[in-house]
Amino acid sequence: MTQLFLANEKVGEFLSGFSKIMKVFAPINTVSPSFEEWSENKQYFPGKTAYSAKNIFFPQYDELLSIGFNKSQQNDTQININSKNDEFSPRLVFGIRPCDLKAIEVFEKVMSTGAYRHPGFQKRLEQSVLAVILCPDKHSGCFCDIMGLNRMRVGKLADLALTPTSKGYIVHPSSKKGTEILNSANLPEPSEKWQDDIDKSSANSPVNDHGHNGGMTSRLSDALFNNEEFWSEKTAACLGCGICTYVCPTCHCFDITDYNFGSFNVKRLQSWDSCMFYNFTNEASGHNPRKLRWQRYRNRINHKFNYLPNKKDISGCTGCGRCVALCPASVDFRGILSSATEKQNE
């Protein structure tokens, strides 16, 4: 199996080289590190990003259609409908982690299988080369292992797998696309003893699972659904802000709205929605079945641990820990899920 070496100091060059022939997305060092389009003046971020990579395949604001109205000589009511979701150029997605990669599998389950498919997602994914960095050890706040993820296993969607060592990454291809990319990259072979040098530096930061090392079911039943008191009490501190859903790599709920930007310039916009928002299930009639915050939080937990596992046979959570890290009210869903597990088994 081909194994090549990408030195830490050569990462920028590697990314810049590819950015000449395709779009390149990589984790960028900012106040809240996240995936951005690479350019030379940006600083590569080698750790786990604050936000997930889903924006690359499922943009927060995506123009699905634009509708224009032309008056031409032949036909003064010519309506033009342009779809932007047909063609996507090739792109390299560098630096996602096993949790992010697993989340793309969840997206695939939801967006690319079944009777209704999302046009833009699958096309973007097909054009992507996914280079995943494996995690020899957990980062602070991660609990992927509890969610059943093997951090050193190369997921099925990966094209390139990178193992971090103290001096750089050991790169090996795990698909035809990956092999092609690697062939064009001109990387040297690694030194013989690289296995001894696997970077466990992330293990030096305290991996605080804070006692949440079990007791959470991977399949919640409907038993607790109507227990208003349980959900109300457990989610009392939640502000309903939406940070958890926005940083979560698997959250995929969206809204579609049509806007008239003036001068007959109408756009159909798809945007991220959140089950934490009041208007999440606000219906045209004015009825809102999830008007209260605890109902919406109940929905979130059930979507990830009940509906997706039971109906689509995949967990809605990959254990990346971002929701826990960024919640302003310090709500930790793991405590709620543990209590739910205990209670439903009563």
């Binding site: 802000c241 940070i243 916009l269 302003p328």
Partner: protein, 284 residues
């Protein structure tokens, strides 16, 4: 120790009141969350008070926010509260969003709450303006000196020219992901599903990503909070993108203080400053 005093007092109060509101210890001791206790057992098990109790408890108190079943049958609740949160509560009381007679406020001395991410005291603590301690129903523990000897409302961008200020905000707000955390963390934002930013008819703010809309969201919030914002700093603390939203609160509060000599939650007026009713003669 302060936590023990609070624990003991809470256990006494739960007999007298239907609910005790404070913080609960979570598995990460640096991240307690707001808690609503209704019995002694849960108080003994979970109640905590440490140097990381950052959330503003007032955000949970307006009647518009009280929609969990734990509020059923709660006539009166006792709240262990720190100065900045109480200042927010006083403003909400003046606006009649919180019914004064339903709450018993116990003032807890505070020397600042650390940000668990940095281990430092945030700037809001260094600019602490306390409300009148006489407004508390009772106090607990030993009073402590205010961290900031002469707290002033300063606008950190004051020395910049208008287009420099605009440049600053455009750079900062390009990081905004419109998650609405600043709004939800704010005790004053209790419009819930009637928020202007979410309105569809008319559609003031679209779901578009452009910078204009992100700026507009903050402009709406700042203007709607003018004369009401108590500089609690929760907006900035909640923001996942690290945008210094407290600069907006400081600027707005500074202008209000200068023009009207009014500090919401501190200055006593018959009516809140910019919420005049239709009675001729208005407020004092």
């Amino acid at each position: 120790m302060l936590e023990q005093l609070i624990l003991d007092r809470a256990k006494q109060l739960i007999g007298e009141f239907d609910m005790v509101i404070s913080y609960r210890r979570n598995s990460n001791p640096e991240r307690p969350s707001a808690a609503f206790f209704k019995d002694i057992t849960s108080i003994e098990k979970h109640l905590c008070w440490n140097r990381y109790c950052s959330s503003n408890l007032s955000v949970y108190l307006p009647f518009q926010a009280r929609n969990g079943t734990m509020w059923n049958g709660v006539e009166r609740a006792a709240v262990f509260i720190k100065d900045c949160d109480f200042r927010s509560a006083l403003n909400l009381i003046a606006e009649e969003a919180i019914e004064r007679d339903r709450f018993h406020f116990i003032g807890v001395p505070c020397e600042g709450m650390f940000d668990y991410r940095t281990g430092n005291l945030p700037s809001r603590c260094m600019n602490c303006k306390r409300p009148d301690a006489a407004e508390y129903d009772e106090s607990i523990g030993q009073p402590v000196e205010n961290l900031s000897s002469e707290p002033e409302t300063k606008n950190p961008l004051k020395s910049l020219a208008p287009d420099q200020i605009n440049e600053f905000w455009e750079k900062q707000l390009s990081l905004c992901i419109r998650c609405n955390a600043c709004r939800e963390a704010c005790p004053n934002c209790y419009c819930r599903d009637k928020c202007l930013a979410d309105a569809r008819q008319p559609d003031f703010l679209s779901r578009s990503e452009d910078l204009r809309h992100r700026k507009f969201f903050q402009v709406i919030r700042t203007l709607h909070n003018a004369g009401r914002c108590t500089e609690c700093g929760e907006c900035e603390r909640a923001c996942p993108a690290g945008i210094p939203l407290s600069y907006l609160s400081s600027a707005s509060s500074g202008i209000i203080a200068e023009l009207f000599n009014y500090l919401p939650g501190i200055t006593k007026k018959k009516q809140p400053l910019l919420l005049l009713d239709s009675t001729p003669g208005g407020s004092e």
